[in-house]
Subunit: 223 residues, 2 copies
DNA sequence: GGCCTTGTTGCGCAAGTGTATAAATAGCCT
DNA sequence: AGGCTATTTATACACTTGCGCAACAAGGCC
């Protein structure tokens, strides 16, 4: 016989708190990124996402028209975060162009940019770029913005060395530098433990400076 | 009233041909890769794959224990194809080391290696590497094999120039060269039309030769 | 030609999917 | 304190998914 003072009815409806709209959207997007990174696009069901966000599945449709839109916003958030953080190192300091370039490379080849979760998300979404023009465009814009930043610093670096490359050479330098950083980033994300701490950044800086024909600093010169 | 000579009964069972075991397995794997590239891991259902292969879904279970195993075999096939084709340019010719290295770069930065379908597959599967150790191991083995090949040619190239790099320098060169090629490959796959034909290969060769400190050939020298 | 093996189909099933919608309640406003 | 409303839960629904299984027939063998 149940105690008359039992405060918990058998079929109690789940307790919940009301959150501000922006907070909930943020939480749902974060839960989406977590789910995609962990289970892939296939395993990231609305119920999985909702569970991770601490709500029930139906709520998602209160904030997003459908799953498609949720994924798109999540991807936009990811891209924004990546490019924002990546470009920060370029503008923050008031050091020499060469130092800023080195800082940029270093920033991109260490945590938190080198991170398996971010890589999983990057690869998962980009795998759909071939079939989804919206994704492809989002990537291209991010990539071009990134490359233009690189090109600008490269121009400054070379100008500081009294060199006057033409537009084509500048473009090629930027493309190549961008490629090394991307490639090293991938290797670091996928097999970070194969490299010593700071090794990838050292390789990257050396490769970039060699590409630009900068004279090696004394302490790094080959014998 | 149906014609008595009508040769097609209303509920005719589908006609089919028996194929050799190896042929069917190949077809199913190919259909799997096609489906994954086009619809992603989520959209590549057994029924989609079977439709593409020209069979019914039930047959797949006659050749594979489950979907998981089918996907794993498909990925293994893909990796095998990529590394095989990539390494072919290295060993085929009896040219100078420097020419073989250039041919290797060129081969990796043109069709059929630069291909949106292959990239989609690569990214889609690799997006799961963070959560699936089997995938991560498969990638690492392919990557290391690839890098070792690069390192071997680099050693030959430098030896032909009378230079004696130590093991660490050799390793760093191989890592950097591998990274440029990977980065340029990605850019070519995702935004091939942003580059002139052969431009990526030219950028790659120049970057690789600069990385190794090779004197530029006359016709490519900067003015 | 007729049989026998087994590759192949067709169908059913339980679980899970995204979406729709009604019912409940948390928290602000007065 | 008490009502209003928007947020949240809960449930339903049509559909797809991977898998199991029995019936069927294609093609080699005698």
């Amino acid at each position: 016989m149940p105690d008359a003072t039992d405060p918990a009815p058998m079929n109690a409806r789940r307790k919940f708190r009301r959150e501000g709209e922006e907070r909930r959207r943020q939480d749902l997007i974060e839960a989406t990124l977590d789910s995609v990174a962990e289970y892939g696009l296939q395993g990231a069901s609305l119920r999985t996402i909702a569970l991770r966000a601490g709500v029930t599945a139906g709520l998602i449709r209160h904030y997003f028209p459908g799953k498609e839109e949720l994924l798109q916003e999540a991807y936009a958030t990811l891209v924004g975060r990546m490019t924002e953080h990546a470009k920060a190192a370029l503008v923050a300091e008031d050091a020499s162009p060469r130092q800023r370039l080195a800082a940029f490379v270093t920033a991109n080849l260490n945590a938190p940019i080198i991170d398996t979760r971010v890589f999983s998300l990057w690869a998962t979404f980009l795998g759909r770029a071939g079939a989804d023009p919206a994704l492809a465009r989002a990537h291209r814009e991010g990539y071009l913005g990134f490359r233009n930043e690189v090109e600008a610093v490269v121009a400054e670096v070379l100008a500081a060395e009294q060199r006057k490359p033409d537009a084509s050479q500048l473009r090629h330098h930027a493309i190549a530098i961008n490629a090394v950083i991307d490639g090293l980033w991938i290797e670091g994300c996928l097999a970070g433990e194969m490299f010593l701490p700071g090794e990838l950044a050292a390789i990257g800086i050396k490769a970039v400076e060699t590409e630009l024909g900068l004279a090696p600093l004394e302490q790094f010169q080959e014998k």
